[in-house]
Symmetry: C2
Subunit: 253 residues, 2 copies
């Protein structure tokens, strides 16, 4: 059984802890966190500590803390040549201190506090310095997820920026749709099935194939009507993405 | 039983025809289309015609043709004071010729040829010149959908532009994500669960509440790293939406 110590108790750490606790193939033996507060939720189920010198001996140490703290934290971590993986999309594997057998265990998903999520469906991107460790990580990842990918640091960095487009930026477009609805006393829920179907479509088609609408058709009349209805900020976004779509379909530069 | 004649045989018309044929409460008695070609798919099930002078007598005539042809087409339509509804999100109700009892029957969804869709979940936005006709439309809409909304022309126009943001523009962000993956030999399918969850989240949270990521955190270091990885066109979109998110969360103008 793979023994794990989890370092961190934030959003990603909490979801990971739940998944590990639910798995029969791994043993989550300890959770460390700087402050006691976030550890409370785990105290009834598992050993917790706020003392880096009191870490238990494990097969893998998983760091789930803010991106910009990973590197300096890994220096302080004294686990005697242990396998140490961080969980970040944007931090390189070699940002971890050299004394460790460095690795990455990156679950690619947007985690919401308090909203349970089925880990089986969450892609886990793994990376390690050598084949043996990659095999250990793969074994660990497959105990909680059906979707495990070997992804190097450069690929992962690009994946992370792609994720910003399809998640954060998409959500902002939802927000603009929400604003427009509110301003016109239209319930936003009317758009929910469309939002769902837009996401569903690309499970079967490429986004390139799935595109429809005035920008793709180069329907300048509808585009002009739409622009006249928007505020300045919305107009700028509308114009730029419309240009980009028109360019993608080769009708105009 | 409400008798319907459908005018048009394109994408929306085909999906509507299927829904009407499957309903026991309405009778689709005829489909008209300018050309014979698209009518073939219906010939075995229903009377079809390419002759506007040979239209059957119905309770409602539903026009499902391209937006910019609706107005002129409605002038040619000679149905003696019948209830005539178009199915467009962006065309005003009063764009229909005055001789008709004008109405709108707008299913808000992205229809893909060949991909069946459950109409029960599709919001139908209805509008009519008088209450009696609105009641008829409501009766018709509820036979195929559980989500019927009374929406006036101004609201519908705004809903349509909001739909462009959450559907066409969102799909374009998926396309950019797809490009970035392709260029780095990363399978795009890794992003599919994230795309799904982003869409699912806003069934429970407002998009404002659901936002995460570097732009919301005003994480200038990650933003700079991301920008350096993108091509010029992607950079422009990244910058503009990041600015808009940062502004939304009030950290910077």
């Amino acid at each position: 059984m793979i023994k794990i110590v989890l370092l961190g108790a934030g959003n990603v750490a909490s979801h990971l802890a739940k998944a590990f606790l639910a798995s029969n193939a791994v043993e989550l033996i300890q959770i460390y966190n700087r402050s006691k507060k976030n550890l409370k939720q785990f105290e009834s189920q598992i050993n917790t500590t706020t003392n880096l010198n009191a870490l238990a001996k494990a097969d893998i140490y998983i760091i789930a803390i803010p991106d910009d703290e990973i590197s300096s934290f890994s220096v302080k971590l004294d686990t005697q040549d242990a396998l140490v993986a961080h969980t970040s999309g944007s931090v390189a594997m070699l940002a971890l201190a050299k004394k460790h057998r460095s690795a990455v265990f990156y679950p690619l998903q947007t985690f919401t506090k308090g909203k349970d999520i089925d880990f089986k469906n969450i892609p886990i991107c793994i990376e390690a310095e050598n084949k043996k460790d990659l095999t250990i990580l793969e074994k660990l990842a497959t105990t909680i997820s059906d979707k495990v990918y070997k992804i190097n640091s450069k690929q992962r960095k690009n994946l992370h920026v792609a994720a910003v487009f399809v998640n954060n930026f998409t959500n902002h477009l939802y927000h603009i749709g929400h604003q427009i609805c509110n301003e016109n006393n239209v319930p936003f829920e009317i758009l929910a099935p469309l939002i769902q179907e837009t996401a569903n479509k690309i499970q079967e088609l490429t986004p390139f194939e799935a595109q429809t609408g005035p920008a793709k058709r180069d329907d300048t009349q509808t585009i002009a009507t739409h622009l006249a209805m928007l505020n300045k900020e919305q107009q700028e976004i509308y114009k730029l993405i419309t240009q980009s779509i028109t360019k993608t379909y080769g009708k105009k530069l």
